[in-house]
């Protein structure tokens, strides 16, 4: 029964459209992040987390990798460093939304703030503190922290955009059904 429901709501053309929109969003955010030299929010973090919150673990992993690599390129960091971080954060987000959290904007806000602080902290530690330059704390105060707050705040509009896309294209309903299936004994039959 549940399997039939899935087959009904899964529309391949909508799924393709959804991933195309996500890809465009990622590219636009990457370009925006590399233009101009002012402090900017790292939009790829909330985008990755928002998408992951609507996906299963494997897809969350993929989207985390994509966002992480783009973040590495934009921030001029060692390729893979942010990718590893983002994969873990996106999988964590997917699991959190799967078992614990509801799709609410404030959940995404605090989660993004936390993830941005983790990413910023790692960046600060491995790219600045470790080299023992003088007054390195200025970078934390003047660049990393403001960027983290901006990133956290940017998660609110991004949440509504991604949630809207996911709702329209089916992955959110899919996830809801999947969640519901966990509370039924017949869920074992479900092939997601």
């Amino acid at each position: 029964m549940m399997k039939q429901n899935y087959q009904k709501i899964r529309k391949p053309h909508l799924q393709i459209l959804q991933w195309m929109i996500y890809a465009i969003l990622l590219v636009v955010c990457y370009i925006w992040q590399t233009s101009g030299s002012m402090i900017k929010p790292l939009l790829l973090i909330p985008i990755g987390l928002c998408i992951a919150s609507h996906m299963g673990e494997i897809r969350a992993m993929l989207i985390g990798a994509a966002c992480g690599v783009l973040l590495d390129l934009a921030c001029g960091k060692l390729i893979g460093s942010n990718a590893i971080c983002m994969i873990l954060l996106c999988v964590g987000t997917s699991l959190l939304y799967h078992y614990l959290l509801k799709q609410k904007w404030f959940n995404m806000l605090w989660l993004t703030a936390l993830c941005a602080l983790i990413q910023g902290g790692m960046d600060y530690l491995f790219y600045y503190v470790i080299w023992e330059h003088e007054n390195v704390s200025l970078i934390w105060e003047n660049i990393i922290l403001p960027s983290c707050w901006m990133t956290a705040l940017s998660s609110v509009p991004i949440y509504f955009i991604i949630h809207g896309i996911a709702e329209t294209c089916g992955s959110y309903r899919e996830q809801k059904l999947e969640k519901a299936s966990l509370s039924y004994p017949e869920s074992k039959d479900v092939d997601v």
Binding site: I31, G76, S147
Partner: protein, 283 residues
């Protein structure tokens, strides 16, 4: 004959005499309007204006009615021409700007004939949230760029290539503490080491350190590369002195240097691939 003796003929003569008199008077006035005529003109001018205006409107209306089609065509052709001219103008402005920038780079080559330079590259993006404003350019190994080649703008030294791709490179700017450049003051030849500092980088400046305690260095003095380490060509402008202070140790002084190029708004840079005194890679 009867007419010649009549009153009418006398009146005619009087009139002719009057007008001849008026003519002569007008001639002697030397271009000034004689008062009765002027008065007449003053009185009739509002009427003339109104009449003229009505006549113009009527003519305009008739003209529109008669030539509407040709005006429409003409208008369309003119609009097209304006659009073409606008496009040409914007292309011209862009070309002019580009030419001015390229001329500036040619100026570098003229001043330093020992330099081998690449053609100017566009800055394709800045490293996100980087305190030292490192950036990417659209030139790489395929365009003749090598790792650690100096990068310059038309105004001064910008940095060095630290990551090299086939068609893109990343440039570390002189604000970064990773770079150390042998530099001197243009007027006094006093030497120091130019390096980045986190605190000064926040204000877009770098540090000329290891200056003598009793340095005579003054504000706005020009700082040049010495070319001693073979990494950077000698005699190239780095920036200007903004502030002089004592080091924490109290043994040496340092100067805060504002780079000659605005590192936050670069659009085009060139890479110096070779110059006199360049160190070999192995060195």
């Amino acid at each position: 004959m009867h007419f010649l003796k009549s009153k009418k003929f006398k009146i005619l003569l009087w009139l002719l005499a009057l007008f001849i008199g008026l003519m002569l008077y007008a001639v002697f006035m030397g271009g000034y309007t004689i008062s009765p005529v002027s008065m007449l003109q003053t009185l009739t001018s509002p009427v003339q204006k109104a009449s003229n205006s009505i006549s113009e409107r009527v003519e305009y209306g008739l003209d529109l009615f008669r030539n509407a089609e040709s005006y429409y065509e003409e208008n369309r052709a003119l609009r097209q021409e304006i659009n073409t001219l606008h496009t040409q103008l914007s292309d011209y402005e862009a070309a002019k700007e580009e030419l001015a920038r390229l001329e500036a780079f040619i100026g570098i080559k003229e001043k330093h004939d020992d330099y081998s330079m690449t053609s100017p590259f566009d800055v394709i993006g800045y490293v996100t949230n980087d305190p030292y404003h490192n950036f990417m350019i659209d030139g790489g190994s395929e365009e003749g760029v090598s790792l650690y080649d100096p990068v310059v703008s038309d105004l001064g030294l910008v940095g060095v290539v630290t990551e090299l791709g086939a068609h893109t490179s990343t440039v570390t700017t002189i604000l970064s503490p990773e770079l150390s450049i042998s530099a001197c003051v243009s007027s006094t030849r006093e030497k120091g080491i130019l390096t980045g500092s986190v605190a000064l980088a926040m204000d877009g400046m770098c540090k000329l350190q290891y200056l003598e305690k009793d340095t005579k260095l003054k504000k706005d003095r020009v700082i040049l590369t010495t070319g001693e380490n073979g990494l950077f060509p000698g005699g190239y402008v780095i920036g200007y002195v903004k502030e002089i202070a004592m080091d924490d140790t109290g043994l040496t002084a340092y100067a805060a240097i504002e780079p000659a190029s605005d590192l936050t708004h670069l659009s085009m840079v060139a890479v110096i691939t070779d110059f006199n005194g360049k160190a070999e890679k192995s060195e």
